[in-house]
Structure formats: structure tokens, C-alpha cells
């Protein structure tokens, strides 16, 4: 569908019809002091040739390191067919087109995506996607406050085992709406929220967030956490890794009655890491909450002749109908990323996804075993995990990671800044893309670097005269 801008004559005709002198006049009601005077921080535009060169140089600066960092964005194999098909002209658009029903193929694809996501999460419904995992969690938090009819509370319990960036984004988005985020500390031995540590009288709260696996890669006791929250009249928001769902119990089956909302980052399903985005967020929920769910939902229906077709549904929640009372200000989706993910999932199938998950789990287990065999390295937490693990180094961590980087290997994500109690602790990840030889190489380099350190315990040898 082409984008055709209005001609100056058309703009003049339209302004004349509504009796306005200029487009600026339409914005008169915005006070002058609230207007942006100019975008001084935005540089001048560049030509295609200039931008192509700049991007090539920046990509080259990244090099081709062997990557063992996860921490929210995961390196998985993407079959060549995924993006070959996604970038076909029929699919290649970032948005659900306006006059969406004219694009039945796009709507069918989104409908298939929703079906796959609802299946993976064990939930009744899925929306057509959100911007990314962190903002999906923020939307889920807002949704839980709207949807919880047992509680008027705006208090949300947020474990410290939720991704630190997600917690920051959620705070940025919901704090101005009067929501209170209360952090729950984790068990130092397990790296999880110990259900026994939860208060018996927590007071009124709207929802509990439950990450699975959590930021440390550790598996939470989701059944006990879900039942505890439900027993206190709160909803349960699951933040999950979609690859892990191929092996783990889906949120819809947690505890006695399942989580209420499930969300997360869709990047592991066919989206390249590409320096942090674009990614997409997914969100699913139980049928009873569907009218509080933000974003687009595609439905299957029949037309006047009884033929099956696809349509945007439940639109009365959205801004073009409810204006300021809309369910949320999200009124679109990440169409292109979702197209890739849907094709990716269709190519892999349920069995393929399960094999990716199993291989990632096994590779990380093997990496932890190899690294822990080194005297100065030990795993920090004793609980079961998925495809990430926290290792403590009995040495200054930044020296080791810098030395690894110099050898074109990214060892992991240093946790000390986000978790002061985890100084010299590294979050490592080995997905199915890492071979035994890669893992051997990593362990070998760490061993070498530490051996060298053992020989020269003091970085500057005293000068003897």
C-alpha cells in the first residue's frame, strides 16, 4: 500500500473547508511554553551513501566476537528462510496497515502468531505484539491494576530477580500514574524468591510479577508464588522467555489456576540481536481479562457470504473509539518482527523449539561445569536454571573480561553494577549456537588469564635497587 502525501493544494483546500489559516493554527491550544522550539540535539541528515558507510564502519568496530552474553537478548540460530520470506514485498511493512481488513494476508499471519503465542504460554488469548519485553511488562502492570476487581490497590510486588532494565522501564512508565512498585529481595543461596520468605499478611496489592526463568537464569517456584498471590486477591504477571516455554510449564498452568497475564521479549524467536533492537514484546492473558488487554487483537470471522476472514477485533478498547478512556495508548504492534517470529516458529515447529531449548540448557550446564573446574570460579546459586548462570570469580572480574575481549570473546554480563552484593559475579549464557569447542576455548582462555595472574600476584612488581 503506497504512502501518498497530500499536495500543497489539497492541504489548502482542507484548511479552507474547516476555516483555518494554517496547519500551525490547529495546534493553537498547546501553550507556547510547552512546545519544542527545535531539535538541536538531532544532527543534520545524511545521504544514503554517507549513512551506509557510517553503519558499515560501526558494524566493523563490533568485530565478530564469540558471545556468551545473554542478559535479555539471546543469540540463536535463525534459518536463512526466515528473513528471506519476511522481507518479501507482500510482508515488508513495519505496521498493521491502515484499513487493516484490506490486508487479509497480514491479518492471517498475525492471527497465526497469536495462536502460536497463546499455545506457548498456555493462555486463552494473545495480542498482536507490543514494542519490547520491558514495555510489555509495564503494560502488563497497568493492565493488572485495571483488571483486578478484587483489589483497588495500585501496589505491585516486583522481585529483584526481574531484569534490572525491565524494572527501570516499568518504573518510568507507571510511576506517573500513581502505581507503587515494591521490590521483593531474593534468596542469596538459591537466587530465587523463596516462597517461605513471603509475608503471611502482605496487605492489599494488585499483582505479583513472576519471572521465569529469572534474570539470573534461575527457575522460580512459580506454582507456590502464583498460589500465594491468588490467595491474597492479587493477579499474577508472568515474565517469560519464549524459548524456555518449550520445556517449562506454561504460565497458564502455574499453580492451582494459572497466571493471569503472561508477557516477555520476543527477540529469541527469529530476531537478530542487532545492537538492542528493534525487538518486540508479547502479551497473553486469560479470557476474562481480554477487555483490559492493550494493543491490537486479530480475530477470525465470516463475511456476509459466509467465507472465513480476519479482522481487528475488540477495538472499542482503543483510542479512536474511547479517546482518553482507552485501555492504553498502545494502538499498534511490531508487525515486521512478528512476521519473522511467526515464520521462525513455523519453520522450527514445536519439536524444533524444544530442541533449541534443550541444547541451550545443556550447553550452559556444560559451560558452568567447565568454568567451575577452575580454582577461582564457582557457581553462585544452587537452584535449577535454564540457559544462564551466575559465576563468582575470586579475582577482579573486569580484568578478566577485558582480557577475554582482547581475545575477541565476550564472557558474560557483569552483575556488580545492578547488584552490589554480586561483585565479581558474571552472568553467562551458552545457547545452541555454541559448540563444545567454543566452550573449551572459553574455559581455556579463563584458565590462561588466571594462571598468568597467579604468577604475578602484584600488578606492579616493586622495583629493587
Amino acid at each position: 500500500m503506497p504512502f501518498i502525501p497530500h499536495t500543497e493544494a489539497e492541504v489548502r483546500d482542507m484548511l479552507a473547508a474547516i476555516g483555518a489559516d494554517s496547519i500551525d493554527q490547529l495546534f493553537d491550544e498547546i501553550p507556547a511554553e510547552l512546545r519544542v522550539k527545535g531539535l538541536t540535539a538531532v544532527p543534520e541528515s545524511m545521504s544514503e551513501m554517507e549513512i551506509g558507510r557510517l553503519m558499515t564502519e560501526r558494524a566493523a568496530a563490533d568485530g565478530h566476537p564469540l558471545n556468551f552474553i545473554g542478559a535479555g537478548a539471546y543469540e540463536h540460530h535463525i534459518p536463512a528462510a526466515v528473513w528471506e520470506l519476511t522481507t518479501r514485498g507482500e510482508f515488508y511493512t513495519a505496521y498493521t496497515p491502515y484499513q487493516a481488513e484490506a490486508s487479509q494476508g497480514t491479518l492471517q499471519l498475525l492471527y497465526e502468531y497469536q495462536t502460536m503465542m497463546a499455545g506457548l504460554n498456555g493462555m486463552d488469548v494473545s495480542n498482536a505484539s507490543l514494542y519490547d519485553g520491558a514495555s510489555a511488562l509495564a503494560e502488563a502492570v497497568l493492565m493488572a491494576v485495571r483488571a483486578n476487581r478484587k483489589s483497588k490497590s495500585k501496589r505491585i510486588l516486583m522481585p529483584r530477580t526481574v531484569h534490572p532494565s525491565y524494572r527501570k522501564v516499568v518504573r518510568s512508565i507507571v510511576a506517573s500514574q500513581g502505581l507503587v512498585l515494591e521490590e521483593l529481595d531474593y534468596d542469596r543461596a538459591g537466587g530465587h524468591i523463596d516462597p517461605a520468605s513471603l509475608p503471611s499478611d502482605p496487605g492489599d496489592f494488585a499483582a505479583l510479577v513472576v519471572p521465569q526463568p529469572n534474570f539470573f537464569g534461575v527457575l522460580e517456584e512459580v506454582d507456590a508464588l502464583t498460589d500465594w498471590a491468588h490467595a491474597h486477591g492479587a493477579l499474577v504477571i508472568a515474565v517469560v522467555n519464549p524459548i524456555a516455554l518449550a520445556l517449562l510449564t506454561p504460565p497458564g498452568e502455574w499453580g492451582e489456576s494459572g497466571a493471569d497475564i503472561s508477557c516477555g521479549e520476543g527477540q529469541p524467536l527469529g530476531i537478530p540481536m542487532s545492537s538492542g533492537g528493534p525487538y518486540y514484546g508479547f502479551m497473553c492473558c486469560r479470557q476474562e481479562h481480554v477487555r483490559q488487554m492493550p494493543g491490537r487483537i486479530i480475530g477470525r470471522t465470516v463475511d456476509l457470504e459466509g467465507k472465513p476472514g480476519f479482522t481487528l477485533t475488540l477495538q472499542a478498547r482503543e483510542q479512536h473509539i474511547r479517546r482518553s478512556k482507552a485501555t492504553s495508548n498502545i494502538c499498534t504492534n511490531q508487525g515486521l518482527m512478528v512476521t519473522a517470529s511467526t515464520i521462525h516458529m513455523a519453520l522450527l515447529g514445536a519439536e524444533g523449539l524444544e530442541r533449541v531449548a534443550a541444547a541451550s540448557y545443556a550447553n550452559t550446564a556444560s559451560l558452568v561445569e567447565r568454568l567451575s573446574a577452575i580454582a577461582e570460579v564457582e557457581p553462585v546459586f544452587n537452584r535449577p536454571r535454564f540457559h544462564e548462570a551466575v559465576l563468582r570469580f575470586d579475582a577482579p572480574l573486569n580484568e578478566i573480561t577485558r582480557a577475554l575481549e582482547a581475545r575477541s570473546l565476550l564472557g558474560g554480563y557483569a552483575l556488580g553494577e545492578d547488584y552490589p552484593e554480586l561483585e565479581n559475579c558474571l552472568l553467562v549464557c551458552a545457547t545452541e549456537t555454541k559448540t563444545d569447542a567454543d566452550i573449551d576455548a572459553y574455559a581455556g582462555l579463563v584458565e590462561q588469564i588466571l594462571a598468568k595472574r597467579r604468577e604475578t600476584p602484584c600488578p606492579v612488581a616493586p622495583k629493587m635497587r
Binding site: 476487581r149 477487555r291 472499542a316 478498547r317 473509539i321 474511547r322 478512556k325
Partner: protein
């Protein structure tokens, strides 16, 4: 002309109020309101026990055309929401003054009833809106 039962009270936002013998009131939307909205697809009713102020948005009626708030005509406490509407929202179209009621309310101040319109005043309002 739309049906405006003589024994009910009315609001400018097209809700009706029926006072019961025990002092509680039943609230719904008028035949005129449901006619404007068209076929109902969903009705969200308030929870029992919720306290509302007059003119608070306390329910949502969603039709094929639009979603609209239903405003509480009086302040008080919700005694019951009509949960049956969750499965049969079309009752609001078919029987707006009967089984299509939205909520039952225990008014906090019975004096507020005097501020509502009677059938004659509401009929006059509808006539003025038509012109």
C-alpha cells in the same frame, strides 16, 4: 417516540432510576440510550460493595458502534451488579427497563433523588435533543 415509563426517574446522561420499597434503587440505561448505541456486545458492571459518587463512571456498555460509560445517578454503595449481562448483553437492548438493568444501589443521600428528572422532564429533554 421512545418509551419513557412514568414511574422512573431520569438523568441527562440517559440513565433511569427505580426506587424500591426497601430504599435501594435500580439503575439502567433508557430505551433511547440503547437505541442510540445499537446492538450491545459487552456490559461491564460494578462490583458489589463499591462506593460511588453521583456522576461517577461506574459501568461500561459496549455496542457494535461505541463503548460508553454509564454514570451513577446517585452517590451510594453498589448492592449488586447485573452479572447476567456478561453472557447476554443484548438484554440491555431487548428489555432496558427490566432484565437489562445495570446495577442496584443503596443511596447515601435520598435527597439526591429530587435532583433527577421525572418522565415528563426527560421526555421534554428527548424532544429538545431531536430538534
Amino acid at each position: 417516540m421512545s418509551n419513557v415509563p412514568a414511574d422512573l426517574k431520569y438523568t441527562k446522561s440517559h440513565e433511569w432510576v427505580k426506587v424500591l420499597d426497601d430504599g435501594t434503587v435500580v439503575v439502567g440505561i433508557t430505551e433511547h440510550a440503547q437505541d442510540l448505541l445499537g446492538d450491545m456486545v459487552f456490559v461491564e458492571v460494578p462490583e458489589a460493595g463499591r462506593s460511588v459518587a453521583a456522576q461517577d463512571a461506574c459501568a461500561v456498555v459496549e455496542s457494535v458502534k461505541a463503548a460508553s460509560d454509564v454514570y451513577s445517578p446517585l452517590s451510594g454503595e453498589v448492592v449488586e451488579g447485573n452479572e447476567a449481562l456478561a453472557d447476554t448483553p443484548e438484554t440491555v437492548n431487548n428489555d432496558p427497563y427490566g432484565d437489562g438493568w445495570i446495577m442496584k444501589l443503596r443511596p447515601g443521600d435520598a435527597g439526591e433523588l429530587d435532583g433527577l428528572m421525572d418522565a415528563a422532564a426527560y421526555t421534554a429533554l428527548l424532544e429538545s435533543e431531536e430538534h
